[in-house]
Symmetry: C2
């Protein structure tokens, strides 16, 4: 007999259900077993004298044991869980659980130690149902627009860009490094004439940071596309893609998010275009409105405090949760971002709910200009393998990256430790 | 003006096209420039006396330079490429290419050195268009069936399963390792009650192998699902998923594959169910039919030669390119594969076109049995973090893994060096 998921049970039919034991009352004449699967919960009601053969197994049941029950689904108004109960014919114990070592409100580190138990709640399962839908929506939108999916290498020969934050590994008799981003390879795909690519894959950062948004490994969602006229084409694509994605999440999980995470995290499908301000404009407004003054030395970039304040600013000025930020100082942006004739980097950050979710730009595709920019930052030798990509013809192009875990965090107001299936930090390598 | 892709050009309209210079003839009164984008090729015809301002730029053009042309698409029966040419109004050089360092028939190692140039041909681009469609089809099929996508950690604390083939890395003041497979984590997701999960992500193998199918890094496609009755449920799911995927590839790229890779690689949508034979039955038939004798010591597993011969065998016996193989010897399979009461591993390999593409099984989910099996292999301590997943309730489950690059290889009859966007081997860490 095929298994029926709890949400699909129809009263009056024979069913086979399987799941974890959520609740268990073993009385003298009756046993009540609440079974939980990924779709819901249902009560199994056992009248003991009718099932003498089941009693030995019933006595073995513990919380979170896994059982399979075949029987009849019966409408019963006295049953709280959806007014349906299962009258069993057979009961099989698939797995007996030891007493659970954590509770829902245990400290986060204990919960991470026993992550597989921590994830069993509806609330925590929703994190990954949402993440699945979010990623599927991003991909669907891109595939519809002729993007190719590609897989760039994570083991790289040289510590590119900024060597200090890169993990080193033994590679046979030599060394290798873990890629911090697919940046150079997605640009290589542009030089290969792929025109539009995306990748969803792990990225690695050897940063000893202990904030609620830093991890040493996370899932990046990167894209790059050719034949743009300006970085504003990149912003336009991003806002269209995100709006589509948020619409899908809202449709599928909007109600669940409010029910389980609170009204504060209600999903709002944004209006387009997203607001755009320069760094200087943001500082001016934040000073005027909130009395925030930025130290002179930080003016070329957004401080973390200023970033957080943009949530309020974007709401007040534009009724938006999003804010594109442009016109960063040249020395705050990587050498491969294109500069205009005034030297202004042709890129942007996108801030959602007060946290940066993207850096994007038009890239410098002109070999001579790129080499000059790299040399100015003292990187000419380090990035030679990369500048070579531009020597044999390369279209103008741009792109950006998103963090899947960071987006998940912001959807639900949780920390990165909860948004990752398995969190990795400087002190956390298990399970 | 919006760019038009070559395949979308309609004669009689104004267009803007961009692409690489595929061919270039610069005559005294005329210039003919063939422009290539990812969808096709088109000729730009320049009557020089009509465009005096264009001449300096035309003289800068080299093969594989990138240009943008605005003009009118005109039907012209004398033009070979689709009977259309572009009469330009403006011409812009986006990027001038140096003389190319490789040709289409250069040695594979030179081609890999300049992979971004190597990938510019229609034939090589097809590899990644196919891979994109294949992966999208697998995902669509699974998402439709309530699978969740998850991302397991690639940095792990202990060298699990078989330490010898694992890359070690510096992790702050200690050591860590790169995951060889998401096996343990996808099973952890089962213990978490996720019921059905898949992951598409890099896997790492520190093997010093130099065959046409080995790489130190490749893209794995793994899945796992709960509440199965037997490993045959896993085989059934796999054959249904693959049949769907192959159907989509056939529909989208069937003709292109034959045109560019030859009749031998025509995509055949398989019939279900796929044939199934035991290891012993295969050896018996291969001896009878092809005179192949297996050394006594190898009888519990399929030798590489026997594996190759199954292509012929599956064709002759069943008219199929596929063959499921079951009943491997217990000592040839990992400790986490479930055994039946006779000790036979409840798993299978799937062979396509004579190459193994999958190992799958029902997993041992019973904590006590699993611990005993691990102890028998002397692994009890090494895998303790993993056996813990089964102590607090776990559904019966099974799954398998596929290699995206290996499937790509087999579709097109190419080597893994060509099937990966960037190949990684013991001697290859660039570009």
């Amino acid at each position: 007999m095929e298994r029926t998921r709890v949400a699909d049970i129809v009263p009056g039919t024979k069913v086979k259900i399987s799941g974890f034991v959520e609740n268990f009352r073993n009385k003298r004449t009756m046993a009540f077993i609440v079974v939980r699967d990924i779709t819901g919960k249902i009560q199994v009601t056992v009248v003991k004298e009718e099932h003498p053969g089941m009693l030995a197994d019933i006595d073995r049941i513990t919380l979170d044991s896994v059982i399979t029950v075949e029987g009849t689904a019966v409408a019963n108004d006295y049953v709280k869980l959806g007014g349906i109960e299962i009258i069993p014919e057979t009961l099989k114990i698939e797995s007996v659980a030891d007493a659970l070592p954590i509770k829902e409100d245990s400290a986060i580190d204990s919960r991470l130690d026993y992550r597989w138990i921590d994830l069993r709640t509806e609330k925590n399962t929703l994190i990954f149902r949402l993440q699945t839908e979010m990623t599927a929506a991003l991909r669907d939108w891109l595939l519809e627009r002729n993007f190719l999916e590609f897989h760039s290498p994570k083991i790289i020969g040289a510590a590119s860009e900024s060597g200090s934050e890169v993990f080193r590994l033994d590679y046979f008799d030599g060394n290798a490094y873990l890629a911090q981003s697919p940046q150079f390879y997605k640009q290589m795909a542009m030089a290969a004439g792929f025109e539009r690519v995306f990748e969803c894959a792990p990225v690695f950062r050897a940063e000893k940071s202990y904030t609620r948004k830093h991890a040493t490994e996370f899932t990046g969602f990167d894209l790059e596309f050719s034949y743009i006229d300006s970085f504003r084409d990149v912003m336009k694509l991003e806002e269209e893609m995100l709006t589509y994605m948020i619409g899908r999440v809202a449709e599928k999980f909007g109600d669940d998010i409010v029910r389980l995470y609170g009204e504060e995290y209600r999903v709002t499908v944004p209006e387009k275009p997203f607001p755009v301000m320069t760094v200087a404009e943001i500082y001016e407004e934040e000073e005027k409105r909130y009395g925030y003054t930025v130290p002179e030395s930080e003016k070329g970039d957004l401080t973390t405090d200023a970033e957080h304040l943009t949530y309020r600013l974007a709401k007040e000025l534009f009724g938006s949760e999003f804010m594109f930020v442009t016109d960063f100082a040249s020395d705050k942006r990587p050498f491969y971002h294109m500069r205009d004739e005034r030297g202004v980097p042709q890129g942007f950050d996108l801030i959602w709910r007060g946290t940066e979710i993207t850096s994007g730009s038009q890239r410098e595709h002109r070999y001579d200009v790129l080499c000059r920019n790299a040399a100015e930052k003292g990187l000419a030798e380090d990035v030679k393998f990369y500048t070579e990509f531009f020597r044999y013809g390369c279209p103008p192009h741009g792109g950006f990256g998103l963090g899947i875990d960071r987006l998940t965090m912001l959807f639900l107001g949780i920390s990165i430790k909860e948004a990752e299936f398995i969190f990795r930090g400087p002190d956390r390598l298990t399970p």
